[in-house]
Symmetry: C2
Subunit: 450 residues, 2 copies
């Protein structure tokens, strides 16, 4: 099966000798790592056919061998606490990183890449924080860095963006990429319950962690937004470039109001290509609660499911839907990447790596075009509506709809704006807040682009 | 960029010389071919970055140069009527077949593969009819055969099945893979109009061809089912192996009855892995109108959109949705394949080829487990229901629901069965048909698996 006479000076992938197995090191043996090992051993024949040669797991690195006594990895004599030595073994060709965290896996992954091992990782935080460093190490060594599982687990998103849409131009990506927050928002929507109650329910059912901050405040989604934007727009985007708002301030009233207007609220990771009046391109990557029509394909994504909606110049609208978390779905994505990396070890060739040629500027969040849905309580007297609409006009914001309702001696006003600069919308809300006749701003939620 | 010292005896991909362009020949210049050329020329810089080297279109083969006078291909001096000579040019590395038909493109594609050119085709009929011959020619020459556009155009389905799910085990694939029939069924559903009227509407709007047989009788979907089943189950499946029924017998009453029971009717391409009582595996590939719940993700796929729903062991449920036809969406998929083929020409390496190692038997359609929804008119007298339910029992078919309604002195009976062998269900309907108290079988439609 080997197809290249190696020349160390110029060769990226040497190709394995005929029939020689591709060696795999698994770093981490939690819910994902244990499923990866199980499936690789159970379906060894299938893996051999798909990879072009046999695969062999050489070891599984863990922090404590005792903790995994009796496990499959233990039975097969694969456990080791020395991750570095495992990576450095000559018969290891591919390193699978499913530890989690950032600093320790970063060190191991860089070590692996620099030693000529291809890497498969499921670690979104690592990829979002250090993609440039990792990509450069992979390029320098001529090996592959795969991370399909880092975004939306089993849903193929990285592959389609890197490969299937490689000849197209992506305009926008909007994704429900965090299952915990989608579970909470969906449960609030279907039961009318409060955020706190549904967070507690999510925790009870294992959808939320003991400290849910990374999920509910949008940090996890921001990492994925950074990865999606990098892939879609051929530009380096890190999690720090992503504007981030979580869902902890969403109330049962917000959800109810959304329902009444035929909408629902989702935490979306939005990546957009922007073009200003002079034709200059920039990109925006942001995570925030977003009001979307119930007829939008993303609205029906319920429970902890994930979905990614892509608009591309030639392809038009595409959506990918499925399980965005969990041991088995994540393992599925990791296994697909292992086969890809193994094929390149057997046949030579390289996976598409980091692509940054477009190198587009990242727009300041204040300059991003957004639309607002503003729900407020005002004094019920003549002139208030005129006063408020004048303030919108002063900020060059045109209104799409205004709805007024009587409520307990107050008036409730719901404004939906046309698209305007985020900065101007925010300034408008700030100014309106300070007005005497305005009793309370009940909620301010952005709407999805039309 | 070259990374392999070539050895004609053992080398599949030699890699191009540094900076030497990858030569592309486009066969066919209709709606797809013209968009492929336009996008390649407009986005040349992007293609170079994504492919690892520059791409250059060497020629566009057409049946008549005059017919395309003044076109972009003409302006660039690319048109030729000699497809064979174009393919044989030494500087052509990749042949893009977007002609359509079977016999002529088959000859050209085989010629290209045998001459060491990788092939990208959008031709589902060709791939479904001759996949084995094409795959063998590609393997013998060590080149790539790509056909993402052959199934559901811009929606990445072939890539995910070949790559992303390569480490998983697919249990079933159910797809809306024909836009014409989905347009007609969706229009019948939303307007209540007849099949004939909505077919006429589809023709008027350009969704149906003058002779709509290939679409409405399910031949197009059957080709795609064969391709999907081959990929999902690592087994050779041709269009002839696919049980096929079209939508021309679906009536407005069928659609209305489906609505009343919370369902809708879709033409589905269904590919399933079956396991009998002895644990023996087989596969089924079939195309027929199918009753699905309105809450099923496929139910909301409207207009001419396509969607493919996959269930895999580890990944769970996945759905891919988007434009399944049209010049631009098809070109998007073709371009992604061109980048993949070009990368392998630049870096060496091979795309996943045909995988047939599982070689599962194809189940006889009569043995396939299905469920029926049967709507009939019977005489309104005592004993008829008892007689009918006895016949179901005689065929070992258990009933899930029975609904009886009075209607103009007749009784209407709607049976929904549990899963049973197709053969037994068909025999039951045949026996019931002949009974004196049965006035008419209004419709028999299969239900999606639970």
């Amino acid at each position: 099966m080997t197809n290249a006479t190696t020349n160390p000076a110029t060769t990226y992938n040497s190709g394995k000798g005929e029939g020689e197995p591709v060696g795999i090191a698994i770093l981490g043996y939690g819910t994902v790592g244990s499923q990866v090992l199980r499936l690789m051993l159970e379906n060894a024949e299938a893996f051999e056919h798909r990879s072009g040669g046999p695969l062999e797991v050489k070891g599984v690195a863990v922090s404590s061998v005792d903790k995994h006594a009796g496990s499959l990895a233990d039975q097969k004599g694969l456990l080791t606490t020395d991750a570095r030595a495992l990576i450095d073994r000559d018969d290891v060709d591919i390193v699978v990183e499913v530890i989690g965290g950032i600093d320790y896996p970063r060190e191991l992954v860089l070590n692996a890449l620099r030693n000529g091992k291809s890497v498969v990782t499921a670690n979104k935080a690592l990829v979002a924080a250090h993609s440039a460093e990792l990509a450069e190490a992979a390029d320098a060594a001529g090996v592959d860095l795969y991370f399909e599982a880092a975004v939306a687990a089993a849903i193929p998103v990285v592959g389609p963006l890197r490969r299937s849409l490689a000849g197209d131009q992506v305009q926008s990506v909007a994704g429900i990429v965090n299952g915990t927050t989608n579970f909470i928002l969906d449960a609030m929507d279907s039961t009318g319950a409060s955020y706190d109650d549904m967070l507690a329910e999510a925790t009870r059912l294992g959808y939320a962690e003991a400290d849910p901050t990374a999920d509910v405040e949008g940090y996890d989604a921001a990492s994925k937004a950074a990865i999606l934007a990098s892939l879609a727009f051929h530009t380096r985007v890190t999690a720090d470039d992503v504007h981030r708002e979580g869902i902890s301030s969403i109330t049962a009233e917000d959800i109810e109001a959304a329902k009444q207007s035929g909408n629902t609220i989702k935490l979306l990771a939005i990546c957009e290509r922007l073009v200003d009046d002079q034709g200059n391109e920039s990109i925006s990557a942001r995570v925030h609660p977003t009001l979307i029509s119930r007829s939008h394909p993303l609205a029906s994504v319920d429970k902890s499911f994930n979905a990614v909606f892509i608009e591309a110049e030639a392809a038009g609208r595409l959506m990918f839907y499925g399980n965005g978390a969990g041991g088995n779905p994540t393992a599925s994505a990791v296994l697909g990447d292992i086969v890809g990396a193994a094929r390149n070890k057997v046949f030579g060739g390289r996976a598409p790596g980091e692509s940054t040629y477009a190198n587009l500027p990242i727009a300041d969040f204040g300059d991003v075009p957004t639309r607002y849905h503003i729900d407020m309580e005002v004094e019920d007297r003549i002139g208030v509506l005129a006063l408020l609409t004048q303030i919108f006009a002063n900020h060059s914001i045109s209104l799409r709809t205004v709805r007024q309702e009587e409520k307990d001696g107050h008036a409730r006003l719901i404004f939906v704006t046309h698209t305007a600069r985020e900065r101007d919308l925010a300034a408008t809300v700030e100014e309106v807040k300070g007005l005497v006749p305005v009793k309370a701003i009940k909620s301010v939620i952005r709407l999805a682009a039309q």
